[in-house]
Symmetry: C2
Subunit: 388 residues, 2 copies
């Protein structure tokens, strides 16, 4: 096991009815809240009303920033920063999924800084101060509700970059599984893919020693539960226990637990996918279900042992040859993604195969920022060719 620091102070209020507690959570931190949310779904699902009622009951002033889109834009965060400053808000409340939370985190840091918030994302400035962030989660996937990261896309350049700081980690996140009852089948599937990808990128980071029994078993535990819960949620969208298991395993999957002790985790699949969803109108999870099996097939060619381990220990593949076992495991994963109707090739995702060079050009800059040095343009093209 590698040395590590683990610290995760976010308080989780989990379960049905818990949204009613958001007012008192905000009130503990201040009197004026900036409520950040997305497009229509928080209104149609009734979450907007629940949050608003609780906030009003607690007597806090409410400033609203609606309209955050998926693959959230820096311009939107800047709009929020202006609002937070001019209205002198004390707290930033995200009511949404990863896009909304990451926008709220950017606003929280940006409102306390005297420079362009993009500087946080290109690592020219550190977050030194931030407004407290609270979350009412409406979509499980990013685990942004219980971690210190935010991902934002710069409008002009389509660069999708990330920042990490304990100062922007949510103080409290409210997870009510009932909010997932109205999640569409495709977004249920894409969320599952995203969560699995977070875990497997950590898992494959350890392809050198391959010995991380505790982390491996945690990953298997969360993945198995998530896959079961996905199938049950697709069959019956109002299965509370399925949605609850989905929600809590999604958070645990990427809150630092599964990667603690694994060394420095790289995210090459997310990195290349970021270019897909920056350049095309494709959901992040859909992009990942194209990229992950392709990247695994590409990566297993160099070092099949770790991929064979997943195949054997998780997918029950009996094959003794590592390369064959790895391939069989990848096929099982791809099969499962297909079964929940998430695309598993560029073609299925509606992305022109002729654009591979263009995608690689976009991704290679992120590779530099994320310090994934091995990912040159040629390598990225090679990976993308495995995603056809």
């Amino acid at each position: 096991m590698q040395n590590f620091v683990f610290e995760n102070p976010t308080k989780i209020l989990f379960g049905k009815g818990s949204i009613a507690k958001i007012g008192s959570e905000v009130k503990r931190l201040g009197n004026r809240v900036l409520m950040v949310y997305g497009m229509g779904s928080v209104r149609t699902s009734g979450v907007y009303e629940q949050v608003l009622n609780s906030l009003k009951e607690s007597g806090v002033d409410i400033v609203e920033l609606p309209g955050v889109k998926s693959n959230p834009l820096l311009s939107k965060a800047k709009e929020g920063i202006e609002l937070a400053r001019s209205k002198k808000v004390d707290v930033v409340l995200a009511v949404g999924g990863g896009s909304v939370i990451d926008t709220a985190k950017t606003i929280a840091a940006g409102a306390r800084a005297d420079h362009d918030p993009w500087e946080f994302f290109v690592y020219t400035k550190l977050v030194k101060e931030a407004l407290p962030v609270l979350v009412v989660l409406t979509l499980s996937a990013s685990a942004s509700e219980m971690n210190a990261a935010a991902v934002i896309t710069k409008d002009e350049t389509c660069q999708k970059f990330s920042v990490r700081s304990p100062l922007i980690q949510p103080k409290t996140s409210i997870l009510d599984p009932e909010v997932l009852f109205t999640l569409t089948p495709s977004y249920t599937a894409y969320s599952a893919v995203d969560i699995i990808t977070h875990m497997l990128e950590g898992y494959f980071t350890n392809s050198e020693t391959g010995e991380s029994p505790l982390q491996d078993r945690m990953i298997y535990a969360f993945m198995r539960t998530l896959m079961e819960a996905t199938e049950k949620s697709l069959a019956n969208p109002k299965d509370y226990d399925a949605r609850a298991n989905f929600m809590w395993s999604g958070t645990l999957a990427f809150n630092g637990l599964t990667t603690a002790g694994m060394g420095v985790v790289g995210f090459p699949v997310h990195m290349i996918e970021h270019s897909l969803s920056a350049l095309y109108d494709i959901a992040h999870g859909a992009g990942l279900s194209i990229m992950l099996p392709g990247w695994m097939a590409w990566s297993a060619k160099k070092n099949p042992a770790r991929f064979a381990r997943l195949a054997r220990e998780f997918f029950g593949v009996a094959e003794t040859d590592d390369a064959k076992a790895a391939a069989a495991g990848i096929a099982k994963l791809k099969g499962w993604f297909g079964s929940i109707k998430s695309p598993v090739s560029l073609k299925e995702g509606g992305i022109p195969e002729g654009d591979i060079e263009k995608i690689a050009d976009n991704a290679v800059e992120l590779a530099r920022t994320w310090k994934l040095k091995d990912y040159t343009k040629e390598v990225i093209v090679d990976v993308l060719n495995h995603c056809r």
Copy 2:
């Protein structure tokens, strides 16, 4: 899944060499530290020197309270409270295992209160303030290094009671697996038993619905890793990875993760064992390996389904009849405890079977305090009769 609140802000510094960081961790919180530790082992293992050197380098004043025994006594904590007050310490640092940490927690709360600290343990007073607690862990078992609980025995009455408060939860805990290299085989085994018991008491709490796939799988992941690591540590006490997996799974086993969503967890096995180690000179873990299989056998008679689930899912028992499967699973657990040389009957533990009534008399008072209403004296005698 039941509704829950999860919050665990302790920062973990994990890995070889990490003890050298204790000085700067203390320094962040104050200038004078009360260093609480046990008998000889921290000196012979070299941990004492490492901690002292780091503290001196950081320039903090050191006040020492040595001599904490296992099954720690209230009188010792009171001695520490006096010392903390008279020397005006800012921070309480535990260098040890559960007994030392729980003494440090009691001191931290008691030093800021104007009443007998025992009132915290009988719930007549709440912890309202406490000095910050830091930990350098030398024995994995209690997970007190990452939770809010403390257990203390009152000298005069042999009552072993507990308190919980977020205010006494360690701010930072340093976990260096190398400190376990000198742990004796028997204490390695007893620690494993303690950790397993923490998890299984949570597991069996859910015997009514029986449906908690996420928590169950986390428990299996931690138990499997711990059992493997125990066997490897006994074979080679200086196997770093084995000690590391032991240490981190021991902490994760009882830091709130495995019980979140399981409802109110009772600890009947710990409760009755507390009477064993309060009345006899027996290690807590040894007492637990006597009590746990006996309690399981007693409990499975009423409701075998959950015990059968453990047998099938964890121990690979194929038996379809629940009662038979439960019994086979209990036999496997008992066999494993025996294989690591931890006692599995009152007789093996050197406890006179004729004392069962006396033990039950002691335990029944704790049952009242812990609100385990079903545990009347007759019930406790019945459980103990299953531990013969």
